[in-house]
Amino acid sequence: MEQTNTLLKIENLSVYYGPICAVKKIDLEVKQGEIVAVLGANGAGKSTMVNTIIGLMKAKTGSIQFDGKELTKMRTDQIIQSGISVVPEGRGMLSEMTVMENLQMGVYHHKVDFNSNLEMIFSYFPRLKERQWQKAGTLSGGEQQMLAIGRSIIGGPKLLLMDELSLALSPLYVDNIFKTLVQLRNEKGFTILLAEQNARKALQYSDRAYVLDLGKTVMDGRSSELMDDPFVQKAYLGA
């Protein structure tokens, strides 16, 4: 399954909110077909990293290479067009639009066969098919998360960024959602970068992981190894 070519490579990245440094130095690499988790507490810089990858925030130093392109010089719409999709923190529903319209927005920038991809989404998330004409704002939290994932994969992106996927979901749903991600990777070959506070689940379902602290990459390795690491256990798994 695992291949050797690198899809995303972040080197020496720093990002500032005015004078305040949110990301000091992140180095990270995602290979084709991998599920990579980025762990860290609140304020560690995970969301800032995601927002910088898609160009909503500008990097002060460093580079973000994706599929042969330098993303730090591109606009958000160009970055999305080059094959990156996001599941935003808090799910980012367009709540006044129907489920169907939300899915249609997912292919805004991607030239794909909408109908056949729609069938694929509905086969993974049959609930969305039942509710396709309902407004997204009327869905339950779990259903909204399904919609957010469906909307992000319907355009057939090369890389999926998922910001705090497990936030405000019941533990049962969290397992379901992560299992679906693994299934999507195995069956459709998606490459996924997870920014997660829920370190236990993220390590359980990812291949590799990075640990961020105060805007720096402090550890990285195979998820199974990090799970047994005494520092990670103490700081992030509450063991």
């Binding site: 909503l56 935003p88 529903m93």
Partner: protein, 292 residues
């Protein structure tokens, strides 16, 4: 009964014009989250440009073409002014900017067109001048054509907003700009497109007003703008269908009030009704629940 029918036709065509005004302002609201008070002035400005070109050349079609050019130019050129304000989520400043544009356009009309006199249009510009008699009342062909044109234009633009991917992107920007950007909607390009369509619409409104009213002056911008802004807030900012429906309702109620209510009370009663609606339904008459 005949009076009622006559007022209904005239109310519907006035309502149609209001509907297009509100639609244009809603288009701009969708992409830049501003209440463009100066949009009505833009419509009157296109009329003035049409008047000038016709008086200089005598060619009505050239005049109409110039109106469309003026509408698009004024609207699209104002977009870069709104962009930085919209980017930083400004609220009150955008009102100042929009009113400023309206005032500048009005002053331009006063100073450069017919030395501030009323601009009356020639029959060639009005296109439809025939009137016919139904029983005891007179119906002008122009008001019927205007009504049909309003309906057709409103349908085309609503269909565009609800069925096309660009239209959907505009609505997405209005709902959640951050998410729209994350889905790849280009903030600059889609905004300019929204302003461009609004500019074309401004010229359409100008042409319809020439047909129905046959004259214009600088003050019309203000009276149109007041009504359009109130109607827009009354229906809910950015609510496309609500805006159209409440505009038509207002046109008809106004016409009826003029015919059946004594003297100057018509407007006071209507605005009173509006005030109550805005107080008890803060998100607009047609909003079902609070937006999150």
């Amino acid at each position: 009964m005949e009076l009622f029918l006559a007022q209904l036709v005239s109310g519907l065509s006035t309502g149609g014009i209001y509907a297009l005004l509100v639609l244009g302002m809603n288009l701009i609201t969708l992409v830049r989250n501003v209440v463009h008070h100066g949009f009505s002035h833009t419509c009157i400005f296109t009329m003035a440009v049409g008047w000038l070109v016709y008086n200089k050349t005598g060619m009505p079609w050239l005049a109409f073409l110039a109106m469309f050019a003026a509408g698009v130019l004024v609207t699209v050129l104002s977009e870069p002014l709104f962009r930085p304000l919209s980017k930083r989520g400004a609220d009150l400043e955008t009102i100042v900017l929009a009113m400023g544009i309206g005032i500048i356009l009005s002053e331009l009309i006063v100073n450069f067109f017919n030395s501030g006199q009323v601009l009356s249009f020639n029959d060639e510009m009005k296109i439809f001048t025939t009137k016919f008699q139904v029983g005891a009342i007179t119906v002008s062909v122009a008001s019927i054509v205007a009504l049909v044109a309003c309906v057709v234009i409103a349908i085309i633009i609503s269909t565009y907003l609800f069925k096309s991917s660009e239209g959907r992107a505009m609505r997405a920007m209005a709902q959640n700009l951050r998410v729209a950007k994350m889905l790849g909607v280009p903030f600059g390009k889609t905004g300019v497109l929204g302003f461009l369509i609004a500019g074309l619409l401004a010229a359409c409104i100008g042409v319809i007003c020439i047909m129905c009213l046959g004259y214009c002056n600088a003050e019309m911008g203000d009276s149109f703008a007041t009504k359009a802004v109130i109607l827009m807030l009354f229906a809910g900012q950015g609510d496309i269908k609500g805006g159209i429906l409440s505009s038509i309702l207002m046109g008809v109620v106004e016409a009826m009030a003029l015919a059946y209510l004594p003297g100057r009370w018509a407007e006071a009663i209507f605005y009173g009704f509006m005030m109550v609606i805005i107080i008890i339904k803060p998100n607009g008459l047609f909003a079902r629940k609070a937006k999150n």
